[in-house]
Chain length 272, copies 4
Amino acid sequence: MPGFKLVGREARQKGTVVKVGNTEFGSNKVAIIAGPCAIESEEQLLETALAVKEAGAAVLRGSAYKPRSSPYSFQGLEEEGLKIMAKVKKKTGLLVETEVIDARDVALVSKYVDALRIGARNMQNFSLLREVGKSQKPVILKNGISSTLDEFLCSAEYILAGGNKNVILCNRGIRTTEPELRFPVLSGSTALLKQKTHLPVIVDPSHSTGNSSLIVAASRAAIAEGADGLIIEVHPSPEKALSDKRQQLTPGQFKSLMPELERVAKAVGRGL
Amino acid sequence: MPGFKLVGREARQKGTVVKVGNTEFGSNKVAIIAGPCAIESEEQLLETALAVKEAGAAVLRGSAYKPRSSPYSFQGLEEEGLKIMAKVKKKTGLLVETEVIDARDVALVSKYVDALRIGARNMQNFSLLREVGKSQKPVILKNGISSTLDEFLCSAEYILAGGNKNVILCNRGIRTTEPELRFPVLSGSTALLKQKTHLPVIVDPSHSTGNSSLIVAASRAAIAEGADGLIIEVHPSPEKALSDKRQQLTPGQFKSLMPELERVAKAVGRGL
Amino acid sequence: MPGFKLVGREARQKGTVVKVGNTEFGSNKVAIIAGPCAIESEEQLLETALAVKEAGAAVLRGSAYKPRSSPYSFQGLEEEGLKIMAKVKKKTGLLVETEVIDARDVALVSKYVDALRIGARNMQNFSLLREVGKSQKPVILKNGISSTLDEFLCSAEYILAGGNKNVILCNRGIRTTEPELRFPVLSGSTALLKQKTHLPVIVDPSHSTGNSSLIVAASRAAIAEGADGLIIEVHPSPEKALSDKRQQLTPGQFKSLMPELERVAKAVGRGL
Amino acid sequence: MPGFKLVGREARQKGTVVKVGNTEFGSNKVAIIAGPCAIESEEQLLETALAVKEAGAAVLRGSAYKPRSSPYSFQGLEEEGLKIMAKVKKKTGLLVETEVIDARDVALVSKYVDALRIGARNMQNFSLLREVGKSQKPVILKNGISSTLDEFLCSAEYILAGGNKNVILCNRGIRTTEPELRFPVLSGSTALLKQKTHLPVIVDPSHSTGNSSLIVAASRAAIAEGADGLIIEVHPSPEKALSDKRQQLTPGQFKSLMPELERVAKAVGRGL
């Protein structure tokens, strides 16, 4: 009685490939999403976009709506941010994704981006899950910070049950008792998710480690374990970022990371 | 830099008393909320209401909207449930509270009840927090299942910053590594919350223990530690409940619990 | 298949009363153990002993062997500490207990004290458990900082299976994801232990909260929940203590705590 | 003030290479330890040894002393097991390691094996740490199941401070709130350990996942992240094993794992 049906491997032995534009998640190629935590300005986003495109990223990330624990933290540029993202998409030809945090915003946000992201805090915001379930827009669903794998899959089930089969699971780790890692991904959890579900599974090394010096290692590990993609934070000047300063790579760091990831992908029989 | 201002003790040394109807939360009297997990029918709710009223409860609980991990679990009677609650309120004279799970429902739900409840899964549903912040209806805010105390207070801050000062914090425990307790309340956490904030703090022994045989002990402990109230699940036939079978008390068990709680309340200088 | 037999309620419906000298653990009276974290000098221990005796404590605590995470932290006075404890026992007439951390020391330590304590780090030091199992000296067994209740009971089973039935369980809490409480006791865990085992269960509010300002609240809660005793750290000058500065009460604080505990004990039908 | 000095990177920038016989831990080659959970018979150990040797393992593991949560579980063959290990070492030429669980056994166990292992339950058995600190025998130190990285390093410090510099850290994961993984390794923790200490770090994919179907993935991830070695459980007939049935590989599975590991090792610039 795990509480899910459509997302289980029993329902579909073959892995599902979810397409964001022409980029496949769940195929033999490992897909890389990269970009800043938050959209801060057109200059910031464009500079990042050009850099991650050149390094080989397939999709640009960037949040216009920032759910923040404190009401006094930077909350994102909202629709202005979406407009910036649309401009940068046009200028660079990159696919783009962004977070949606309110069921009332799904239609609006969908106009601007190629994929919707649902963050950890909203994994069990069932109104939001139902709303994106009515759409056909690809959804990147992150697990909650202390959800079990089965609870995570149940949340994906809400979206599939609503009619949207284009769900990409994002393993972003959970809160543990180790104080020096933010919300670490559990080794084995990506592989176990892939056993339990046919949906593609990507990993977020940035939010899970919370430490830019660990992102190379965590990214290599994720691909070695079988992740179908990564979502990595990159910012032109991480130390000046309005959020997540400690965990964003510079464009230069990202550029040198990519060939490392390609070597590991090849070692496990995949490409980048 | 804890991320909150209005809810801190620094902002207000004196404890805030939040009134739900004529019942005070945060005064010298410990307030008891009781009722079923979910509203299942008028008969079920009325029978429970009469029983908990006679035993001394001040407020009737009952959910019309049930956020459930699985889309295939019972989701509540929705507006029909609210109408049942309104009828039972009229027949019994009890104050009533219910959960609101969607920012779009706040106005509707507010018409039927004396207090709104925000559940653990929505502690960081900031759209919902902002919406109830615009209201003056008392809000019972539960902590998320792995939130820290500071994150909990930050979420309350969203409501106060929005203009609604009538917030009652509900300590419902967190997920731990102990498999035999559901989401246990941490001993000391209620007392520490009371040091950090001026808002009233109640405890939920039902959802935290997940075990009806532990509710007497956990309720006594909560009052002894300094809780300003309790919210306890009571169902006419727990074994037939559509949700939370294992943790609901029978009316008879609730009736015998109340004098026990009164003795502990008096031992710590309070009343019931 | 819980892995234990002798300690289960199935093996013995009636609660076991363990006697330390003439003090009963598990009877209708709640027994209080108090004293410093570590034995630092005869003056320090004697001053504390006289104060806790006057306030009504039954047993004096104090560690001569200190298991410390770092090899560079104060490790205790070792046998010199035991000799100090013996002197203070003679001068005050108090019963005394201390920690034993090595199977090779059991015989030596037993000569000096009325009860042996096994700390959290040694809950699964099976050589040590077997050694105290061969003795008839009462053993206060603390749970490991992330043990489950069943693992805790299995460790007690080692001692009973060895032939020593005089085991007092000490619920000292576990490591959780809440950063502001040290190793909090889970509300409901003491009551659940009492359902599962016939052995007496005491609570350690000092090591669990790690915060002297929470000890009154946590102690009241423990008794209200059904604890058979408490073990509380008291130091003449907590700020000068060689270990656990933040969590030791002053003699004055302990003195004012005791009548509070007595009121709660009476409210739940017990005495102090 | 992390509580350690000798084990920190500050004390020694260059990574330490610990030699077990002629096998290096911490050099450019990833070292593989493999063998059964427990030594059950000469036939069982020899069969396993021949298989893992042929597949390329450098060191044979096998426990003669089994610390078990329950006193009624199989406790190991003790000295008889050590003698079996010595015979198998002679017949196969493999290096061998085994667990030591009691300070009084260090000298005896050291006569039979090339490296001592200290298990998770004994990470803070300081008597045992001090005893192996007096030896020059290599020590494989596992972290406790809810230790922090700093507490782990402090325990290693006890051994180095005692005079034994031959310490290999074994990252075996911690207890988390995910019920489907036993004690998972946190992604990023191996890389972070390597930043903090100069000691070699190996990973235990068997005890961390607790699931033989996840060992390939977890092993690949560990090497990709930067582990200096792995310790993997292999048993001729896992379903008949006297302990850890679910997490031991068959010799055939181990044989097919090794080339996979070699590919990942090469992808990160190392060999096997």
